[in-house]
């Protein structure tokens, strides 16, 4: 998902106290929550810092494709909604950086890693937003997929992450609904509007399915994350839930999902989808998607242009502090 690029196996540490490890697993198994200052295996801490920071980066970079349409939204109502949604995504990033900081990572260091191209974020935000319909498709599909992934994270074993996800999930639902409303308006509009909606769906459908990460057969880190109850469902399970929820919505819109192999399994009722292009996924994660360079360049530019504000705030705070001391 937003952390689909995680690919190292956490290395079990023989040096760590076996008894502490066993107690830790017992706490996890009994659905106890782990808090910031509790003892935890180093690999648990490392896995969480990577997952939470990748998730945070995804929220922050995720503002860019949609932010590009704020000034071009077709009405004041749409503009206000999009602005509020993008502001929420910024907040999600901040909640998540704060959760990562409880594990002794610093937000500044994490953001620097992102800007240096050393950190990963979700592949989905490396695709361009070419028309207004893309804003509808993102809200409906991308936020829809994110919700599917984030709801089980509200029960993650690490307390600060779970609490951040509860706040995030409360805010997400409006994101998906405003996107679906945009799609609905276009799909019920003129032939050109409907074609625009169909075109956006064609381009966003497969990348949305890739958001859930590699198939279970080659997802390396899932087992340990599942044992630690960081992860509650496998990538393929979540992907299937998403497809099953979305197919009827596309039918309602009168739009066609761009998958000739899509069919409903008579026994399970699940919608079976065609082959996902995992090579494309690997390329986008590796930095070779259509917008990877752009996204990092925009992030760096915003950071550099904000430097004077940070410096001014620091100087003002220092002066106030020295006045109080005098």
């Amino acid at each position: 998902m937003y952390t689909q690029a995680l690919n190292d196996l956490p290395t079990p540490h023989n040096l760590e106290d076996a008894e502490k490890m066993a107690n830790f697993q017992t706490r996890i198994d009994s659905e106890d929550r782990i808090e910031a200052n509790d003892w935890m295996p180093e690999a648990y801490r490392r896995t969480l810092v990577r997952q939470i920071s990748q998730h945070a980066h995804s929220e922050i970079i995720g503002q860019l494709p949609e932010g590009a349409w704020i000034t071009r939204a077709p009405s004041l109502r749409r503009k206000a909604a999009l602005l509020a949604k993008v502001q929420d995504e910024c907040g999600h990033g901040l909640y998540l950086y704060a959760a990562a900081e409880t594990l002794n990572a610093s937000r500044e260091a994490l953001m620097d890693q992102l800007m240096e191209g050393k950190a990963k974020y979700s592949s989905i935000f490396n695709y361009p937003t070419m028309t207004w319909a893309d804003i509808g498709a993102i809200g409906w599909l991308v936020d829809g997929a994110a919700i599917m992934n984030q709801i089980p994270l509200c029960r993650c074993s690490y307390g600060p992450y779970a609490r951040a996800m509860i706040r995030v999930c409360k805010e997400e639902s409006f994101h998906q609904r405003q996107g679906f409303e945009i799609m609905m308006t276009l799909a019920k509009g003129s032939a050109r509007q409907k074609a625009m909606a169909q075109d956006a769906l064609n381009r966003w459908w497969w990348p949305s399915l890739m958001m859930f990460g590699p198939p279970d057969t080659d997802s390396q880190h899932s087992d340990q994350s599942t044992r630690w109850k960081i992860k509650r469902f496998s990538n393929d399970e979540l992907r299937q839930k998403f497809v099953d929820a979305t197919v009827p919505q596309a039918q309602f819109l009168g739009l066609t999902l761009p998958d000739p192999d899509l069919r409903q399994d008579e026994v399970t009722g699940n919608w079976m989808y065609g082959e996902i292009d995992w090579e494309e996924f690997k390329q986008v994660i590796a930095g070779n998607g259509p917008c990877n360079q752009d996204r990092l360049a925009s992030r760096r530019k915003a950071h550099e242009e904000g430097a004077w504000v940070r410096e001014a705030a620091a100087a003002y705070a220092a002066r106030q502090a020295s006045r109080h001391a005098a």
Binding site: G91, L94, E108, E116, G117, Y316, Q320
Partner: protein
């Protein structure tokens, strides 16, 4: 890519507490970074109260919070469990006495 930037200097961390309704206590909602108290309050308002979540905000520099040590959890809190006589259910009141 991989161009090394100057490390971003750290900004002070604050803990945020919000009173959601009159009559309720302020409750911890999260943390944020800000250079001073005024900016911390503004950031807390933007970050945590965009949907009517609060009527009052407290911000406290994180380093000023003194916390109990989780490794002393047993010593600090377990004795309470062995003192059942501190709870009303420890005492038998015959049924005919009625509610007490």
């Amino acid at each position: 890519m991989n161009k090394t930037l100057k490390a971003t200097p750290p900004v002070q961390l604050w803990e945020v507490f919000i009173r959601s309704r009159s009559g309720l206590a302020h409750k911890h909602v999260g943390s944020l970074h800000a250079e001073d108290a005024e900016l911390a309050l503004q950031a807390a308002r933007n970050l945590f109260t965009r949907r009517g979540e609060g009527l009052s905000i407290w911000v406290v520099p994180s380093h000023l919070i003194v916390a109990s040590d989780p490794s002393e959890k047993g010593m600090l809190f377990e004795p309470a469990l062995s003192k059942a006589y501190r709870h009303p259910t420890f005492y038998n009141v015959p049924e005919e006495v009625g509610h007490m």
